[in-house]
Each structure stands twice: as C-alpha cells, then as structure tokens.
C-alpha cells in the first residue's frame, strides 16, 4: 500500500469521526424542535452536547486541512466546485456556534427564541447538505480535463444526491435521539426513546434505498459487506432502543454511520472524485495527492496526534458522563 492510499483511509477516518460525532450533535439540534416541549427541555438537549460540540466540529477542520495537505487537487476541485452549498454550510456552522454560546447571554424572550431557530435550522441544513455533497462525490460530477468542476449548482441537486441528503439528515437525527436518551433523565428520556424508534424506521427505509442504489451502481464485494454491516447495525440499534439498552443503541447507531461512510469511501476508491464527463479525467488517489515527502510528514503528525486526540476527547465524555434533566438547568447566569 502506498502512502496516498493510507491518506485516503485517514481522510475517510476523519470524515467518519466527524459524522459520528457532529452527527449526534446535529441530531440534537434538530431535536430541539422535534422532541423538546418547552424551553427547559430544549436547554436540557442543548446541554447534552454543550461541552463537546466544539471539539466535534474540529474533526471537520481536520478533514478539510488534511485534504488540503494530502490531496490538494481534491480540496481545490471540491470546494470551488461545490461553492454555494459549501457557503451555506459555513454560514450555518457560524450561526450555530454563535447561537450555542450567545443564547443564554441575554434573558429576553425574543433573543432566546431567535437563537433557538438558528440552532434548529443550522443543524438541519448541514446535516442534509453533507449527504448531498457526498452523494455527488460518489456519483461523479462534471470535472473537465483541467480538474475543474464545470457543472452548475442545479446539477448537484439530482435525485441520488438528494436521497443521500435525506439519509444523513434522518440518520444523524436518529443518532441524536439515541444520544439524547442516553444522556437525559425523566420524561424527555422516555420521549427520546420513542422518537428514536420512529426516526430509526424512517432512516432504515431511506438508507436501504440509498445504499442499495449505491451498491447497484458502483458496488463490489467489500462495499456490499459494509452495506450489510450498516443495515444490521441500524436494526440492532433499533432493537436495543426498544429494549431500553441506550448505551448499546448508541454504539450501534454509531456503527451504522461508520459502516455507511466506509461504504461510500470503498465505492469511491481509487478515485477521490470521479468525473461524469470522461473517466480519464477522474481525480484519483495518485493524480490528486501531494508528494511522498509531504505525505510522510503528515503521516507522522497524524500517527502521533490522532491517538492523543481520541484520548483527551474520550476523557471529556467521561468527565461529563452524568445524565442531565430539567432539574439541572439553572435559571440565572
């Protein structure tokens, strides 16, 4: 295996980490309107991710930075090609981050309500748009001989990619509901479990459709295995949720995300961004990657930093392991 193959895997790992972690915090954001009945309940939900959402988001920055360094051509084509959707994602992430931090800084009703709208929409839209983006990457887009995206925004809104968007949205929301049931107490915990069941069933239908489509179109044996793992894990997550085994349910909804992302990257390899115009214009791990020297340095960095990150981020989850309920939310600030 060459270093650029290793980096393909590492970038897949970073995106997987991002979707696993920010997946549930996007889900929590969406659930503030689907699940919570009043402001204290919304606050309970938001506080389940309070200490960790920022750290989760850095997985995106790492995926972006690593793509820039390891596959500059991929980075350049992807972000200049998907310009407007990416702009929308960035705007959402900006508003969402500010909303978490600033919502409680004033007591006025209108102030708090506005930030709550921001948290909902700015969680929902990126959760959907990331699926659309990855749907398009896997499907292939109009890339010309100069590695430039020459399609329009409307080309990105095709049925396959839109279905991909619905899958990430429902899967992340399911993942978030399971996380909510794992981290909360009382009434909201019970409702989170019931909501998770509904969301899990919707996700199952959408995911089987999307992953099946992917498998028929691009799949091989390894992607089929990943697909089966994803579907089985989703089913297991649903069962565990019904049984009230919240930890297991969360582990399985996580495995679903890991397997689904793995499947997408497996169907992609050795391309990083196939061209729908001409196969010889595909961006591949070899024609889009950095020099061997850069990859070697990056490998050292990732090899040392990633385990440490997992260690101290894991510790954070341990420190804040206690469940919270409305009784833990203080009024004044």
């Amino acid at each position: 295996m060459e270093l650029h193959d290793v980096w393909f895997i590492l970038i897949a790992v970073l995106w997987t980490g991002y979707f696993f972690l920010e997946g549930f915090d996007f889900g929590i954001g969406v659930l503030t309107k689907l699940l919570a009945r009043d402001r204290p309940e919304r606050r309970v939900l938001i506080n389940t991710i309070g200490p960790v959402w920022d750290g989760n988001e850095v997985w995106l920055l790492s995926a972006g930075g690593a793509t820039f360094a390891a596959f500059p051509e991929w980075y350049a084509t992807l972000f200049s090609g998907f310009y407007l959707p990416l702009l929308l994602i960035l705007l959402c992430l900006i508003l969402r981050g500010v909303a978490f931090e600033y919502r409680v800084k004033r007591d006025e009703e209108r102030w708090q309500r506005n930030w709550e709208h921001a948290i909902f929409w700015c969680s929902l839209l990126p959760a959907f748009l990331w699926g659309v983006a990855f749907g398009n990457i896997v499907r292939g887009v109009q890339i010309d001989a100069h590695k430039e995206y020459v399609g329009s925004v409307l080309d990105l809104l095709n049925p396959y990619a839109l279905l991909g968007g619905l899958v990430t949205l429902s899967l992340f929301t399911f993942h978030g509901a399971v996380f909510a049931s794992l981290k909360t107490l009382g009434d909201i915990r019970e409702r989170a479990r019931r909501t998770a069941t509904v969301l899990g069933l919707i996700t199952a239908v959408l995911a089987v459709g999307f992953l099946g489509w992917t498998q028929l179109d691009k799949g091989d044996t390894s992607s089929l295995v990943a697909m089966i793992v994803a579907v089985l894990a989703l089913a297991a997550g649903l069962v565990m949720n019904r049984l009230g085994r919240e930890g297991w349910s969360f582990a399985f909804s996580g495995v679903t995300i890991v397997a689904a992302v793995a499947m997408l990257f497996l169907t992609l390899f050795p391309n990083v961004m196939p061209s729908s115009l001409n196969e010889s214009w595909n961006l591949t791990v070899s024609n889009a990657s950095s020099s061997a020297y850069t990859l070697k340095i990056m490998t050292w960095c990732a090899g040392i930093a990633t385990p440490l990150v997992l260690l101290y981020q894991g510790w954070t989850y341990w420190v804040f392991r206690k469940r919270i309920g409305t009784q833990h939310i203080a009024d004044a600030h």
Binding site: A69, A76, F79, Y83, L86, L87, V98, W318
Partner: protein
C-alpha cells in the same frame, strides 16, 4: 468585465474582510487565554477571592470573544479552496501541511479543553480546571505558530522546489518552513502584539470600573496585571517589529520601499514620519523626516543605501519579466504608519499608567490608597487637580483600549497588500491564484453574505461585551469557593443545578 467587480478583485476583498475580521478576535483570544489562566493559577495558589472573581469576569469576556474567533476561523480554512483553487493546487503540497498540523494539534486542544473549562467548574478539581485553561492557552499559541509558518512561507518561500512535471511547488524541507527566520520573527511579533492587545483591553475595562469606583479590589489587580503585560508586550512588540523590518528589507525590499514611499535609492535613507501630498506619485511634499533612520532600520547603521520603489521594480522586471511589481503605495505607506502609531500609543498609555500606579514615589503617605479604593494617580498634593488627573487617565485608558486592534488590522493589511502582485512572493502571482471555475456571481454572493453576517455579528458581539463589562465580576457562591475534589464532581445532591449551562 468591469474590473471593479472582477472575481479576483472580489475574492481579494472577501479575503481581506474575512481575515481582518477574524483577526479582531484572534489576538484577544491568545492573550486573554493566558491572562485568565494566570489569574486562575493565582487563585489556586493563594485562595484569594479577588483572583477567582477576576478569573470569572475576564473568562466570560474571553468566551464571548473566542466564540466569534472559532466560527470565523471556519471560513478561513475553506476559502482557500473556494476562491483560490489554483493557489490551493499550486501550493497545497507545502501550505496544506502546517494547516493540517494546526487542526490536528492546536484546534483539538483548544476546542476540547475550552469545553472542559466552561462546563467543568463543578466537575473538576480546581487544579485540573486551571490546567484546562493552560491547555487552551497552549492551543491558541500553537495555532498561531502553525498558521504564521504557512503565511511566512507565502512571504518568503523556502524548503520547496518547483516541479515542472506537476506544475506545482513541492515540499522538500518542512523543518525549514517551520523554523525559517521569517516565521520565527513573525511569530514573535504577532504574539507580542497579541499580548499588547489583550493587556490594553484589560487596562481599559479596569479603568472604566475604577473611574466609577466599582469592583475596586478585582479591578486594581486587573489593572496592575494589564499594565505590566502592556508595557512588557509593548516593548517586545517594538523590538520584534524592528527585527521583522530588517528581515523584510532583505527579503521583500519592495514592501519596505513602499512602506516608506521611497521612490529612488538614498544613502543615508531618512525615515518618513509623515508625508503631506500624494505619496502615490512621489515623495516631494514631505513634512517630517528623521535623517538616516531608515538606513538604521534596514541595516543597523545610519548611512547604508536603501533601494527605492523604482530600483526594486526594475530589478524585479529583470528577474521575473515585464510587468508592474509595485503594490498599492498609499496603503502600504499609511498602513505601516497606522500600525506603528496606534500600537505605540497604547504602549505609551501603558507606560504612563504603570508609572502613575507605582507603589512608592514622592506621594505623601496620605495620598496612597488601600486595596478597597481606586489607586490615586495624582502627581500633586492638590486634591482637586489630583482627582481630575486620575479621571483623565482613566478616560484615556478606556478610550484607547481598542488601539492595538486597529494596529493589528493595519499590520496585516500592510503585510499582505505590500506583497502584491505576488501571493507567494516571487513564485505565484495573485492573478494566477483565483478559482477559474467560480463565477463573478458566486464570489459576489459569498462576499456580500459574509460581510453582512459579520456586520450583524459585530453589533451583537459588541453589545454583549458592553453588557458583561458593565455587569462587572460576579458575586461568588459557596459552590464557587468549594470546587469538587474529584473528577466528575462530588456533590452529594445529584439534583443540584449545573454550575454552568447553555
């Protein structure tokens, strides 16, 4: 296409706007993280309540500020790919690595430990809680280091070779990128300027409260800490700025010639303090000059020749082919002066404050003040005059609290615009760096959207800062004074509200 709305022009405006805006928050974040960590350490070591109050007060302002720094940083990482895709293709091999290091090493540190610090008051023993803030502080400094290494490579590319087959710059020596003189001097200068910024902010706000005789105990401590930091950081900023100037005279003679609006070679070269007239056309209506000083700044002696804009333009034409290699001269000229002027004004305010608040001097013992009253800044035994002078200083310190922010902004505008027409000096022109596939409408959309959003957020942020500055330090509760002794919290009452919740 109308040149004013060409995608390149718009992309440059967008980069300028988003970067200067982002950099309003970065220096405050870097310095306040360390200052808050210092205050919390003082609390852990002495147990004095004033330190805990100060930690909470400055910590809150720090959090309002870092939130904006983090979210505007997102834009910085992705706009290289969005607006500058040919730049990204050309330099990704070199430039991407420090960026990835920044994310993997610094951002994870910052973001994870800030979460622990915000929510950890009732979950972590005080030493570990304090340790978390130090981790945040280290994260911010590492982040500055990596991004400045990347930027320094654009100013002075080293450790790479051009690969004609792939048509891009490829890394050959990463260590050199991280340790070249430009990087080290720029890091030093930017960090010292960051501390100048945070210190002026602290001094200004402390002065605001002291003028009103409110929260005196906490604010006296803050004032003293701020003043000492301000003076040390100010002196080091000047020193590092001088070093940076010398490096730039060697590496980017055009930038420094433009900074001086020095059109033709002079020996000895004078430093222009203020030029009246059209610096874009010539240097003939100069008002104030210091003879020989420019020679000194460039070469450490008062007589060596310094090449002018026309000389450098000619030599660059010989080296890189026909073209105009002059940056926007008025921006470089005035940007350089405003940077130095605003930065040094702040340093002067700090020096005056430090001297006025010294413990001993010829103040009569009756004029000295205790912990519970504002320091008496009187230079006279005349009480009425003394009160007036004190008030004048407090107002001055408050009014100048944002001066270093202005200096920082002009510093960046000067250093980035002074390098034009190059994006990577001597290697890649800015006009060859933009995204060829991105339309005018797309760049115009994103520039408009970011500018509007940033403007709205600026209003929100400033109002919040004002609200929390006015509110002053919080009253401490028993929970604040008795932090948990084990990780995860040890309060017997499981239903106790969280110390902090969103």
């Amino acid at each position: 296409m109308d040149l004013a709305l060409a995608p390149e022009t718009l992309a440059r405006w967008q980069f300028g706007i988003t970067t200067v805006y982002h950099f309003l928050f970065v220096p405050l974040t870097i310095s306040l993280a360390a200052l808050v960590a210092g205050l919390e350490t003082a609390w852990v070591r002495t147990g004095k309540e004033k330190y805990l109050k100060a930690t909470k007060f400055w910590g809150k302002l720090f959090l309002i500020n870092i939130a904006m720094g983090v979210v505007t940083g997102l834009v910085q990482e992705f706009q290289f790919g969005m607006n500058w895709s040919d730049y990204s293709r050309f330099v990704g091999d070199v430039f991407g690595a420090p960026l990835a290091f920044e994310a993997l090493i610094a951002f994870f540190f910052e973001s994870t430990f800030i979460g622990l610090w915000i929510f950890g008051w009732d979950k972590l023993p005080k030493k570990i809680h304090c340790f978390c803030m130090w981790m945040v502080s280290i994260g911010t400094i590492l982040s500055a280091y990596f991004i400045l290494a990347a930027n320094s490579w654009m100013q002075h590319p080293v450790g790479y070779k051009y690969n004609a087959a792939t048509g891009r710059a490829e890394l050959t020596d990463f260590w050199k990128v991280l340790t070249q003189d430009t990087t080290l001097v720029v890091v030093f200068h930017t960090l010292t300027a960051a501390f100048l910024t945070g210190a002026a902010f602290m001094v200004g706000i402390a002065a605001y409260h002291l003028m009103r005789k409110k929260h005196v105990k906490v604010m006296r401590t803050s004032l003293r800490l701020g003043l000492i930091t301000l003076v040390i950081a100010g002196a080091l900023t000047a020193l590092s700025g001088d070093q940076l100037g010398k490096v730039m005279f060697r590496q980017q003679p055009m930038k420094m010639a433009a900074a001086e609006a020095l059109w033709d070679k002079e020996a000895p070269a004078p430093f222009s303090v203020f030029a009246y007239g059209d610096v874009d056309k010539g240097h003939n209506k100069v008002a104030v000059e210091i003879p020989g000083l420019l020679s000194f700044l460039a070469h450490d002696d008062f007589s060596s020749p310094v090449p002018g804009i026309n000389d450098v333009n000619k030599s660059e034409q010989q080296k890189y082919g026909p073209g105009d290699y002059r940056p926007n001269i008025p921006v470089a000229y005035w940007g350089f002066r405003w940077m130095i002027g605003f930065g040094m004004a702040s340093f002067a305010v700090g020096l005056a404050g430090l001297w006025l608040t010294r413990k001993k001097f010829w103040l009569a013992p009756g004029l000295r003040t205790g912990d519970e009253e504002p320091p008496n800044l009187a230079l006279t035994k005349n009480k009425v005059l003394g009160v007036r002078l004190s008030k004048a200083y407090w107002s001055l310190a408050f009014v100048t609290l944002g001066f270093p922010l202005i200096a920082n902004s002009w510093g960046w505008i000067f250093t980035e615009m002074g390098r034009q027409p190059w994006v990577v000096y001597g290697v890649l022109k800015t006009s060859s760096a933009v995204s060829p596939g991105v339309s005018q409408g797309e760049v115009l959309t994103s520039m408009t959207v970011f500018t509007l959003l940033y403007a709205i957020l600026a209003v929100i942020e400033v109002r919040l800062l004002v609200k929390y500055v006015k509110a002053g330090p919080p009253e401490l509760t028993d929970d604040d004074l008795n932090p948990p002794t084990k990780i995860g919290g040890d309060h017997a009452d499981a239903d106790r509200p969280m110390a902090f919740s969103y």
